[in-house]
């Protein structure tokens, strides 16, 4: 009876979507290179550093169990032999497909998180002065963040030379971070120009929103820069 319950629990677990970032990250490492639990745990620490952490090596064993139950990975035949068996795991076809879908799904998740943040922020627009101050601080935080984004450079580092995929990974992360912060700064500038116009309109006793800003047709600020399109055109 106990076994029956376990199977039922297992089926329920397998049917539900897998939310654990650690599990997905581990699957990614297996896709990158099939390996065994201890080596995967070490690679996990090296790759994800402070972004994600395993509570212990046994956490890796648990995660591998889940991935196996969900048929996302399978044992490589012939790796369980010897005095100290080290079963190696590789991704299944389902594992590859699900991992791909998970990555694509992250775009929507990220967008949702950003939307919630913006809704919280724009809830403050009843007080344009306060909102401008917050957005100004937000922009400042982005500028500080951009300073700490490293400059990605050409070759020369022995670790990168030994493992080009790690170098590429680090480079992709740095570039994504730079572009993301740049977009946030552009947005902050745009938001401030909108709020400035709103504050001015209120001071003049006019309405609110785009109508009050007098921003119609070609005069609407660019979503990218907060500057008017005609002015951007003559930038340089």
């Amino acid at each position: 009876m106990g076994e029956g319950v376990n199977r039922a629990v297992n089926r329920t677990r397998v049917a539900a979507p897998m939310h654990s970032s650690v599990n997905w990250a581990l699957l990614g490492l297996i896709i990158e290179r099939p390996s065994y639990a201890y080596e995967l745990a070490q690679r996990f620490e090296r790759t994800y550093g402070s972004a994600l952490s395993l509570s212990s090596v046994s956490h890796a064993y648990t995660a591998l169990g889940t991935l196996k139950d969900r048929e996302l990975i399978e044992e490589l035949p012939g790796t369980r032999g010897g005095r100290q068996p080290k079963p190696h795991y590789r991704a299944t076809g389902k594992g590859l497909t699900d991992y791909h879908e998970r990555l694509i799904g992250e775009v929507a998740e990220e967008r949702k998180r950003q939307q919630v943040f913006l809704l919280q922020l724009t809830a403050l627009t009843r007080d344009p002065g306060k909102a401008m101050q917050i957005i100004g601080d937000y922009e400042q935080a982005c500028l500080t963040e951009t300073c700490t984004t490293g400059i990605a450079t050409g070759g020369g580092d022995p670790a990168s030379a030994a493992d080009p995929s790690r170098a590429l990974q680090a480079r992709l992360i740095a570039e994504e971070k730079r572009l993301a912060i740049a977009a946030k700064i552009s947005w902050a500038r745009y938001a401030r120009s909108e709020l400035k116009a709103l504050a001015a309109a209120r001071a003049n006793g006019r309405g609110s929103g785009a109508q009050a800003n007098g921003q119609t047709g070609g005069q609407r600020p660019s979503a990218q820069t907060g500057e008017r399109a005609d002015e951007r055109g003559s930038q340089r």
């Binding site: 300073c147 984004t149 490293g150 050409g154 590429l168 951007r232």
Partner: protein, 241 residues
């Protein structure tokens, strides 16, 4: 005392048709030796700011001080010597060898021809542009022109290096090499480096980053020195310089 200080600077810039716009409104900032500072501004406002910061243009209000000296009164002696302003468009004829561009800059400053040549080789090597020397100016790519401009300014051993848009028009994979060069000039030679950028990604790796718009100079508080990551695999990439 900082090396360069802008104190409550205001500057209007006049454009065609006599229209003017406020580029700097009560702008205050400071740069220390060994710092890389980047300013992002639209419509040439970054360039105007650099011209004011170097004493080429005087502020309408406020003051700019270099090592405690007001640039309004001491600017002529400081610019070109202690402040190196990089011109990314070479002054020489298109057929001229790149090294001549550096040599001429030294000769007009009273350096002997033999010393000038030796110094030119030295600074071209420093900017990883050793192989540029013999090439014609017309043959240089955008990033090579930037390296040459930096070498030209470095030849006179400035304490502050100023460059307008060093990464504009530079291919993506060369962009970081230029930023790294500027970073290394600050870190290894203790130079203060001030750049304007037209693309926000050019702010990365700076010790201080600013945006400039509607006269407002908004900046980051000075963070700890930015890390330099060795990231790019050498495979398949053109060697710089």
């Amino acid at each position: 005392m900082s090396l360069l200080e802008l104190r409550h600077v205001c500057k209007r810039s006049t454009r065609g048709g006599g229209r003017s716009r406020l580029v700097l409104d009560d702008a205050t900032m400071s740069i220390d030796a060994g710092e890389l500072v980047a300013v992002w501004g639209l419509r040439g406002s970054g360039r105007t700011m650099l011209r004011v910061a170097t004493g080429i243009d005087a502020p309408d209000a406020g003051s700019v001080h270099f090592d405690g000296r007001d640039l309004r009164t001491h600017g002529e002696r400081i610019l070109g010597r202690e402040i190196g302003y990089c011109q990314s468009t070479p002054r020489g004829a298109p057929g001229q060898a790149a090294i001549e561009e550096v040599i001429v800059g030294l000769l007009v400053n009273g350096v002997s021809p033999s010393d000038a040549r030796a110094r030119a080789h030295e600074v071209l090597a420093r900017v990883e542009g050793g192989s540029l020397g013999a090439r014609r100016l017309s043959e240089l790519d955008r990033d090579e022109r930037v390296r040459l401009a930096i070498a030209h300014a470095l030849a006179l051993e400035p304490r502050l290096l100023v460059i307008d848009e060093p990464v504009a028009g530079v291919e993506l994979h060369q962009r970081d090499a230029i930023l790294l060069l500027l970073r290394s000039l600050a870190d290894e030679q203790g130079l203060a480096v001030l750049i304007s950028v037209g693309d926000l990604t050019g702010l990365s790796g700076a010790d201080q980053a600013f945006t400039l718009g509607d006269g407002e100079l908004r900046g980051s508080p000075k963070p700890e020195l930015a890390p330099v990551l060795e990231l790019r695999p050498a495979i398949g990439l053109r060697a710089s310089g």
